[in-house]
């Protein structure tokens, strides 16, 4: 029981990481009906930026917001340079472009920082706290706290500010918003910036657990896909709930289902994706798609 609870808590911590990246995917999906295959790689690049800042002697808690701002700006630049010229292209063209972007960013990071895995400093103490017999590490608690805070901020931004309202309006009804004076194109860029920053959080949280290298996010993005799909790919709340469910499920499956172990945990992620898409394509929180002929 004790082991079970410990697994659940550390599952929630990794789930928070998946949730951040899944939320980034959902933000872009809502804005343009597109799954951004480069989301993980963009987060990886931001994490490398944070790594460089910390290496230059900056404290983690200063490097963290600085990286978020840089990631935000980077996301806007990417949207303007790479995505906007192809805005009206079919979705599959855009998907291939984001895939090209993922390959490009991955190669660039390898070009600049090389492929040798580096350890990324964790801002939290490695000790554990004893809660009624269940040992919970401060690192897990810290990850949960940071992810929770970020998700809360995004929620407040989207639901309780004018910018958030304009963002949502531009995503749902571009034509009507344009008539009301919303600069839809820039709102999409803002969405990309926001997604990039939220994704960067997941990168910086996961880097101390895995080692930092250009292919670090390749597995995380699969779990994030699973989380986003499970939550119904257009719902921010769904992404968070989905992320937590995927985190806990994967952690428990690795320990309790015989034959899964550490190396097939990723297959559990794939299993979740396929099962959700076949059994309940709209996920837990998605609305049924209505197709206009």
């Amino acid at each position: 029981m004790q082991e079970f609870l410990q697994l659940v808590v550390s599952g929630i911590a990794t789930g928070g990481i998946f949730a951040s990246l899944a939320l980034a995917l959902v933000l872009i999906y809502n804005a343009m009906g597109l799954v951004n295959f480069a989301q993980g790689e963009m987060a990886m690049l931001a994490t490398f930026v944070a790594y460089s800042l910390v290496n230059r002697g900056m404290s983690f808690w200063i490097a963290f917001p600085v990286t978020l701002v840089l990631a935000f700006g980077g996301g806007i630049v990417i949207q303007r340079v790479v995505i906007k010229p192809a805005e009206r292209a079919p979705v599959l063209t855009l998907v291939i472009i984001t895939l090209g972007l993922a390959t490009l960013v991955n190669g660039l990071a390898g070009f600049i920082w090389g492929y040798v895995p580096r350890s990324f400093p964790s801002p939290f103490s490695p000790d554990s706290v004893d809660l009624a017999g269940v040992f919970i590490s401060y690192r897990d608690l810290g990850v949960i706290a940071v992810s929770g805070l970020v998700l809360l901020c995004v929620y407040l931004l989207l639901q309780h500010t004018t910018v958030g309202l304009t963002l949502r309006a531009a995503a749902h009804h571009p034509e009507a918003s344009r008539l009301l004076g919303v600069q839809v194109s820039w709102m999409l860029a803002l969405g990309w910036g926001l997604a990039s920053a939220v994704g960067a959080v997941s990168g910086m949280m996961v880097a101390p657990i895995l080692l930092l290298e250009p292919n670090m996010m390749q597995t995380i993005i699969i779990y994030a896909f699973a989380a986003a799909v499970l939550g119904g790919i257009e719902s921010p709340l769904g992404a968070v709930v989905g992320g937590l469910i995927v985190g806990v499920t994967v952690n428990l499956a690795g320990s309790y289902i015989p034959g899964v172990g550490g190396d097939l945990q990723l297959a559990v992620g794939l299993g979740i994706i396929v099962a959700v898409l076949i059994l309940r394509p709209n996920g837990l929180f998605g609305r049924a798609a209505v197709r206009r002929v």
């Binding site: 063209t93 291939i96 090209g100 972007l101 390959t103 699969i222 097939l264 990723l266 794939l270």
Partner: protein, 362 residues
């Protein structure tokens, strides 16, 4: 005679290409021949992907998984059950095709975006799925594949032309070439006839196709099956030509490489996969060999370019092609030919200068 004179230029191109590929191994080293074998294998796999993505409009990002399946079916049959390797190639192809057909059934329910997502996840998971049944697949150790010696007739014919003995690599090259020619010919026939028209109709408007009596589900799964059949053949030949397969032979980047080849060559075209395969195969090799030979570059740059060069250039090429030349090399060549033709003949119909989005055949 008149038929030869009036043959459209594409027939001349096909004949020239055939002569080139037949004669090429007689003038290059055995090692280079094995590299061109792999380029041809890639072309077969990309043709499969092209049928799926280019003609039927279903995006698969996990075609490396079908190659892996074909490779392992062949290698296991040859290694454990001591079958003749060449016999295992069609078995692997049909088996993979069957699996692809079954895979196409759940894929029917997915929107194109979800299909891309699920197949991408499949590509990422493939290596760890292969590692698990270690008794069957050899786990991380992989499986060694014995390369067959060329038979006497081939040996004699080759010695007659070049005066040197034929190596197994060169024999495998000719096997691959034969299969590639047959498979390209089959694909050409497929896309010109009823199934090809049906697939394009589905791609361009699923509802309209269904309303016109096209069996949407049937042709979509058929496209998946055929595509996997090509992938399985390519995988089986790939194991034969490298002589060794392991889980790391089939990383995600293989699936990306296939997509790059399909997109660069030109989706929905028959020569596209060949051109795209040559590009996608020789780009990393070129950057690995050319860059280190430049002595004026600092060592550190050389080593990083060696590692990161292919990924960066693949990424840039994917983005640029999708933005500016969605019909790939073939599209560019074709529009160039149309412009040239108009200049030469003095015809100036502005309407024909435009490339149709999907030229029907070669």
């Amino acid at each position: 005679m008149n038929r030869i004179r009036t043959a459209p230029p594409r027939y001349w191109l096909v004949a020239l290409t055939l002569v080139f590929f037949l004669g090429f191994p007689t003038v290059i080293s055995s090692f280079l021949a094995s590299e061109w074998t792999q380029a041809l294998i890639l072309a077969i796999a990309i043709m499969g992907l092209n049928i799926l993505v280019g003609y039927s409009g279903q995006l698969s990002l996990g075609h490396g998984a079908f190659m892996a399946l074909g490779a392992y079916v062949s290698a296991i049959l040859a290694h454990r059950y001591k079958m003749d390797y060449l016999v295992t190639v069609p078995i692997a192809a049909v088996f993979t095709g069957g699996v692809g057909f079954l895979f196409g059934i759940p894929a029917l329910r997915l929107s194109p975006l979800y299909l891309a997502l699920a197949t991408f996840a499949l590509a990422v998971v493939t290596p760890s799925l292969i590692k698990r049944p270690a008794g069957l697949t050899g786990g991380v150790q992989g499986i060694l594949v014995l390369q067959p010696d060329p038979p006497d007739f081939a040996r004699e014919a080759f010695a007659f032309v070049t005066g040197t003995a034929m190596t197994s690599d060169q024999w495998i090259y000719y096997i691959t070439l034969l299969l590639a020619v047959v498979l390209f010919w089959l694909a050409w026939n497929l896309v010109r006839h009823r199934p090809g028209r049906a697939m394009r109709a589905i791609r361009d408007g699923e509802v309209a196709a269904a309303a016109s009596g096209v069996n949407v589900a049937g042709y979509k799964t058929l496209a998946f099956g055929i595509s996997a059949f090509y992938g399985g053949t390519a995988g089986s030949l790939f194991a034969l030509s490298t002589g060794f397969i392991s889980p790391d032979t089939f990383p995600v980047s293989l699936s990306i490489q296939l997509l790059v080849g399909a997109v660069v060559g030109g989706l929905a075209s028959i020569p596209g996969p060949l051109l795209g395969a040559i590009f996608a195969f020789f780009l990393p090799i070129g950057s690995n060999q050319w860059v280190p030979s430049q002595t004026w570059l600092p060592d550190q740059i050389t080593s990083t370019v060696k590692n990161a060069g292919p990924a960066v250039s693949y990424g840039v090429v994917l983005i640029l092609i999708m933005m500016f030349a969605p019909n790939g090399i073939v599209g560019l060549l074709r529009s160039g030919y149309v412009i040239l033709n108009r200049r030469l003949r003095g015809a100036s119909d502005p309407k024909t200068g435009q490339m149709p989005p999907d030229p029907q055949t070669v």
